[in-house]
């Protein structure tokens, strides 16, 4: 697929993201920056299973929610630093990913999509009724840091660079995956599953591996969110709109491409901030109408997203060169 030399593009994007907080140092722009990074992390994580493997999850908030709840839960229950909850969230997400994937990946892709949304709704409603995890009220993190290990900072700048580091790790893993046998398996499955199977691709195993990898990073994204905000409730952890955001960002930029989710987040996050500012509190409704409209338009006209559109319209030398 994309052969376009990662060192160059990665260096440029990395440099821009590194100096962004120095150029736009105001709290407002920094907030947009961290929101962008978080959205890019979760959309890139979704992209592994939804984009590369072509198994469209519409309930990825389930992993995000586990990741978001566990750090604050270990803090509230045992007084542990929230950091300790991250591996627990990852562990729970892996188990749930396997539980969803194992039965549905044997069937057609529709079953997987339905199962993800049903499980996400199930967990969301259940969380809202369970007092141990704060029920409908939610959980809170440490108000004042007891030490650096609480990862509770006053400003947003430390979060910005932590998020950037996680995003970099995720993108490096995705880029490595693209070139390896695993990445080719995923694309083969996405293009024609039966053919891939008959040529000896371990379809079920590969799909589950992709889902687990995706779930791990989605869970980490959720943990980062709750570490930063220090608060979580069922809607902000497991709400369907969390899943919607991952799907729309990845699909808008280009599902199944390395930089698609970054491009999607770079467009959507400022747009979302703008609509919320212009229309005030009532704007969130309009934002979701817009989201729905964008998703329908992508599905109908541009399933490859903006990067694919670019490849068809841009001058030849600016296109991402293609191996195939």
């Amino acid at each position: 697929m994309t052969k376009f030399s990662p060192p160059w593009s990665a260096l440029i994007i990395g440099a821009i993201l590194l100096i962004y907080p120095m150029v736009f140092s105001g709290a407002f722009y920094l907030d947009i920056g961290t929101t962008f990074l978080l959205a890019a992390i979760s959309a890139s994580a979704w992209n592994i299973v939804g984009g590369y493997a072509g198994q469209v999850s519409v309930g990825h908030s389930v992993f995000y929610g586990f990741g978001a709840y566990c750090p604050l839960l270990v803090f509230q229950l045992f007084g542990w630093p929230p950091l300790a909850g991250i591996p627990i969230g990852i562990g729970v997400s892996i188990v749930v990913a396997i539980l969803i994937g194992l039965p549905t990946f044997r069937l057609t892709g529709h079953y997987f999509s339905m199962a993800t949304i049903a499980v996400a709704e199930l967990i969301r409603i259940f969380t809202g009724t369970w007092d141990l995890v704060g029920a409908a009220i939610g959980l809170q993190g440490p108000a004042v840091a007891r030490g650096w290990w609480d990862l509770t900072f006053r400003g947003e700048l430390p979060y910005y660079y932590i998020f950037l580091g996680v995003l970099a790790v995720l993108l490096v893993i995705t880029a490595m995956m693209e070139r390896r046998r695993f990445g080719y398996y995923l694309r083969a499955i996405k293009t024609r599953e039966r053919a891939a199977q008959s040529l000896g691709v371990p379809v079920l195993h590969t799909k589950i591996k992709a889902l687990v990898l995706s779930a791990v990073f989605t869970s980490i994204a959720g943990s980062l969110y709750s570490l930063k905000t220090g608060f979580i409730d069922p809607e902000s952890g497991f709400g369907i709109l969390i899943s919607v955001q991952m799907v729309i960002i990845a699909a808008l930029g280009g599902a199944g491409t390395l930089y698609g989710p970054l491009l999607g987040a770079a467009i959507l996050i400022p747009l979302q901030t703008a609509t919320n500012t212009w229309f005030g509190g009532g704007g969130s409704g309009l934002t979701y109408i817009l989201y729905g409209g964008i998703i329908v338009i992508i599905a109908r006209f541009e399933p490859g997203g903006l990067l694919d559109l670019w490849d068809r319209l841009a001058p030849r030398k600016w296109r991402r060169s293609r191996a195939a």
Partner: protein
């Protein structure tokens, strides 16, 4: 006695689940396509009924017919404008097209009708019957019985008429059907119309008996998935039995564990079904 009352109420609601789920299963069975916006179709059917009552007036027959027509047209339009173009495309397009549509319809409804719960003004169906100690609101009783009748009607339409045979022919072999002079496009548009129609009538029936807000679409959509998974994908009789069973389970679990747990039990059942019998209770492997 109270339990009996709960059971009857659950079955009557389950009959309506059966009706709108049969619309979802029709599309699934015919085109291997899952409509994530089906619950929103039901929700729009409820508002269509309300609009007819408020602006045109007339009895249950009028708003029932209005909702059915409105959703039939919506189904055909969505097929022609969206589904036709994505159904052969990548899985991403297939899933995202109706998923995005669901969001679009849901939040547009929030925007137009606000998030407040509404209900139909008093109709000729108000009042309560007392049958052997069981109190039955007339509206619920009529809605439940009509829902069963329409579901059976849809089944008969699909199995006993020429149009039904044509629909079946297209679903079995599109090319062979074309060679027999059937236009697959028209038949599939008709299927989407019928699916919308089932959702519209179900919505109108629900509106007579239960208050609602735009958010009900999400719940009904998931309920329809569970009903279809239980009854077997593509089977209208399966949807009828499964709808009644789900209505019953929901009502009884709300009675035993508390209303908030009714959806947890039903969605949990869905996950269990995917593990144990993905082809559904009545479906063939």
């Amino acid at each position: 006695m109270l339990l009996l009352q709960v059971i009857v109420g659950g079955l009557l609601l389950g009959a309506i689940y059966a009706l709108f789920s049969s619309g979802l299963t029709l599309i699934w069975g015919m085109m291997n396509f899952i409509n994530f916006a089906h619950g929103e179709f039901v929700m729009l059917g409820m508002y269509a009924a309300l609009l007819v009552v408020v602006y045109i007036g007339g009895g249950p027959a009028a708003f029932g017919f209005g909702a059915a027509m409105a959703l039939f047209i919506l189904g055909v339009v969505i097929y022609a404008g969206l589904i036709k173009h994505v159904m052969r495309g990548p899985m991403l397009s297939q899933i995202l097209s109706t998923f995005g549509l669901a969001l679009l319809l849901r939040y547009t409804a929030f925007w137009i009708f606000s998030a407040n719960f509404v209900s139909l003004p008093q109709t000729s169906l108000s009042g309560t019957l007392n049958i052997g100690g069981i109190l039955l609101p007339v509206a619920q009783l009529v809605a439940g019985i009509l829902a069963i009748a329409f579901t059976i009607g849809l089944h008969l339409l699909l199995t006993r008429t020429t149009v039904g045979s044509k629909l079946l022919a297209v679903s079995e072999d599109r090319n062979a059907a074309m060679l027999m002079g059937i236009r697959p496009d028209r038949m599939q548009a008709l299927a989407w119309g019928l699916s919308g129609c089932a959702a519209g009538i179900a919505g109108a029936l629900l509106a007579t008996a239960y208050p609602w807000s735009p958010s009900v679409g999400e719940t009904f959509g998931l309920t329809a998935f569970v009903v279809v998974a239980l009854g077997g994908f593509g089977s209208v009789p399966g949807a009828l039995y499964a709808g009644l069973i789900i209505g019953l389970i929901q009502a009884v679990s709300a009675y035993w564990f508390g209303p908030i747990y009714k959806d947890i039990v039903v969605y949990g059942l869905f996950v269990a079904l995917l593990w144990l019998r993905p082809q559904g209770l009545m479906g063939k492997a």
